[in-house]
Symmetry: C2
Subunit: 121 residues, 2 copies
Amino acid sequence: MNNIVNITKALADDNRVRALMILAGHELCLCQIIELLNLAPSTVSRHMSILRRAGLVESRKENRWVYYSLPKGNIPSYVTDVLEWLRTALDKDVQIKKDRKRLKEIMKVDLEIICRRQMKS
Amino acid sequence: MNNIVNITKALADDNRVRALMILAGHELCLCQIIELLNLAPSTVSRHMSILRRAGLVESRKENRWVYYSLPKGNIPSYVTDVLEWLRTALDKDVQIKKDRKRLKEIMKVDLEIICRRQMKS
DNA sequence: AATATATTTCGTTATTTGGCCAAATATAGT
DNA sequence: ACTATATTTGGCCAAATAACGAAATATATT
């Protein structure tokens, strides 16, 4: 039950749900997620660690960057199932569609530039 | 997205999840749910109204009692799907199994007696 | 009508959560 | 080793949440 409620708690926040949805199909650097959500880096880092503790994302560190992705490999079915539920339920969602659009723009910009932009503000 | 996060927020609490799970297969009077969760009537009433606002339960009033049940009829698929996910994920859960056992005992007792017991304490 | 009963709403309190900034911790390049 | 950069952690504040008891509401029963 802890596993499950950990998951529902992780999903009980708009920004975390948006972060999850935007990870569909590719991994993203933390700074790209920061850029999308438009929150302080520390805040987004915290959100992502909540998602990770719930088993809803994986992370890998490469050089200076941390990449997040949906979990692959040997995952409990309740994780894949709830992700599938979310994906289906929010596929047509207005906010999510906006996010997907904006992500396309973000992905055109070099990581270094995105990160540096965030240091200033 | 509001619909969905409303649901995940409703599910982000142990007692509400227990209440939902115990509703599988039959409707229950509020006082029976109170008895199971062992919380103040006002607290349980509040929990149930959160579940209802999220569309995860229905209620019907009969005489002095309010009966709650899982929603039937014309329900968005994201509701049935998330309920199915929960059911599967928690089917073998220790707490849930205990609850099912205890519910059997509770259901043997007459509603009036259960309610009256709660007034005293 | 008056009383008893079951549930809900209100007001309060303690805890949790989400946000930020500043400081700490990696990691890469000089 | 030092500096710059990306992320995480700790400390703080404001807002949200879960719990309770008391009062209000709705529904029999007398």
